[in-house]
Amino acid sequence: QDKRTIAVSIPAATHGWTGGVVYHAEQAEKEIEAAFPNIDVIVKTSPSATAQVSALEDLSAGQTLDALVILPFTSEELTGPVEQVKSNGTYIAVVDRGLTDPTIQDLYVAGDNIAVGANTAKWMAEKLGGEGKIVVLRGIPTVIDDERIQGFTDVMKDTNIEILDIQYANWNQDEAFSLMQDYLAKYPHIDAVWANDDDMLLGVLEAVKQSGRTEIKYALGGNGMKDVIEMVKAGDPVTPISTPYPPSMIKSAIYMTAAQFSGQAPMRGNFKLDAPLITPENADQFYFPDSPF
């Protein structure tokens, strides 16, 4: 049986969610290499789109890759380079953000960032009875962030809920803390907060706690971070839900790709991960105590 190589290209662990991605990718590498001795998994992280393109070149320069599992920084920038890799006959699995030319993708495990924003917005609008004033924190200016905000604001447009403010906090707990303090100073009445990411949510909660303000009914995040799911499980009144955007989707994709080579299960097609609400009832399914995220 000949040796198969699966390259995995993902963003470097610069904040909580990407940290989770790296964790799950390395777990998958260990597990698969143990289970299938003929499969070699190579995980490579890159701190920027440019670096990711470089990594693709490096990985495919010296060896023929049997498969590439990639979580692209951005769709536009990585489409060409991935197409280049594919031209050598490499099997392409794309995770999270789809390429601009979907025909390149043999396998697509999609996250749905628009749904993350939209589902949260729907839940919030319903709970607030379609009325109220809310503030929003957004992450680093990238496509993911843009899509989530878009999904959220599109839903809110059809309600009487007023979005008082949207500012960047760069998916950073500290900046979220400062920003929330300033929101609280600026707006005497806030009904709810959406932080777009659970990392930032932790900062927001701390700021709210310190201010002693009680009118804030909901503070929501997204991504399904371990600490936040614990809060959901405990039935926290301010954060009763989250939306999964599990970094483990990289692991699923690597497994599916490996299945391809273990010979029994050809894998082709699109797999869209939904963004169902995580509620106290179903939270156990989304809780992985050993994950760093």
């Binding site: 610069t14 909580g16 940290g19 989770g20 500012q167 760069n170 400062s178 100073a185 600026k186 990392d199």
Partner: protein, 327 residues
């Protein structure tokens, strides 16, 4: 003759307008803030802003030493994350046996780690004779990678049991003054004392002003600079001690890009980037200016969220220009 000259020696120090620049700039920014936004001058907001600026201010006091001595430290942000991570791990490890005392021991250990990190930077620069910019860019990568590795890319939260006893260190106050502000004041006073009133401070400025002159006056420039880096490391550890109770965790994003804010605060404060002149109080004004500007960006509704960084950039340049014209 002698009587005449001693009179000269004791003449009152003239107020130097140039040195007032950062304070005038701060007053200006605060004035503008008060005018354009009614929420700005409220007690809570001011308290928040001042407390928040504590981290940058404390680290920047250390940076004032490093920069006065003619060096530069780009690693402070990453070092802060690393020290925070080490401290939390230590406290968590000790908590089962020591209870809340783990905080004290952990903090003490953090100070040692901070000092050692500073020493590492100092030795690379002085013994290795490597340009500080490059040396600390290297250690910046190293510290950042270590915290990422320690946290598996996720976060290192402090034990629940330690949160409550530790909380007052950030959220508490003494006679109404937030504790981080008290700590900052202490650090600034000690820093000003060392820089202006001790032999070491003199030699630090001399090393930055003209290293050759310092050397032939019998000052060991390498030792002075290494010490400056150690002071910087201690300041980072002090900032880390105040930082942990705020969010209760260290993550790979902790302290990101703080090095730029710290250097900006120091330079706005009137310290020369080429060394030889240090202004501790100016540095504090610089840190406050940065935090007030960031606060005003959120409080006012005038700019698109996309352009906040641009407006901040413009304001910093304008503040420096104003300060220039006052001279």
């Amino acid at each position: 003759m002698t009587t005449v000259t001693t009179e000269i020696a004791d003449a009152p120090r003239r107020i130097r307008w140039a040195d007032m620049g950062p304070f005038i700039a701060l007053a200006l920014v605060v004035l503008i803030g008060t005018l354009i936004n009614t929420n700005f001058a409220t007690g809570t907001n001011i308290a928040n802003v001042v407390t928040r600026s504590a981290f940058i201010a404390i680290i920047a006091v250390g940076a004032t030493f490093v920069i006065s001595s003619g060096c530069l430290d780009l690693s402070v942000g990453s070092m802060m994350a690393f020290v925070t991570g080490v401290m939390i791990l230590t406290m968590n490890r000790l908590e089962p046996t020591m209870g809340a005392n783990a905080i004290l021991v952990g903090a003490g250990f953090g100070l040692i780690v901070g000092a050692l990190c500073g020493l590492l930077n100092g030795l690379i620069v002085t013994v290795g004779k490597i340009e500080p910019f490059i040396a600390t860019l290297g250690t910046m990568g190293i510290f950042r990678a270590l915290i990422t590795w320690m946290s598996d890319g996720g976060s290192i939260p402090i034990e629940r049991a330690l949160r409550d006893p530790y909380r007052p260190v950030y959220f508490g106050n003494v006679l109404g003054i937030p504790l981080p502000v008290v700590v900052t004041l202490a650090v600034v006073l000690v820093g000003a004392f060392i820089l202006y009133r001790t032999k070491y401070g003199r030699r630090c400025m001399a090393a930055g002003s003209n290293a050759d002159v310092a050397r032939f006056s019998g000052v060991s420039v390498a030792r002075v600079r290494t010490t400056a880096f150690v002071i910087q490391g201690l300041c980072v550890a002090i900032a880390a001690i105040c930082y942990i109770p705020r969010l209760g965790a260290a993550t790979p994003t902790t302290g990101q890009l703080w090095e730029l804010q710290v250097i900006t605060a120091v330079v706005i404060g009137g310290t020369l980037l080429r060394g030889g002149k240090g202004r501790i109080w100016g540095t504090v004004a610089g840190a406050l200016i940065l935090e007030v500007i960031a606060n005003l960006m959120v409080l006012s509704n005038m700019v698109s969220e996309y352009l906040v960084a641009a407006v901040q950039g413009v304001i910093i340049i304008l503040a420096m220009l104003a300060h220039r014209f006052i001279k």
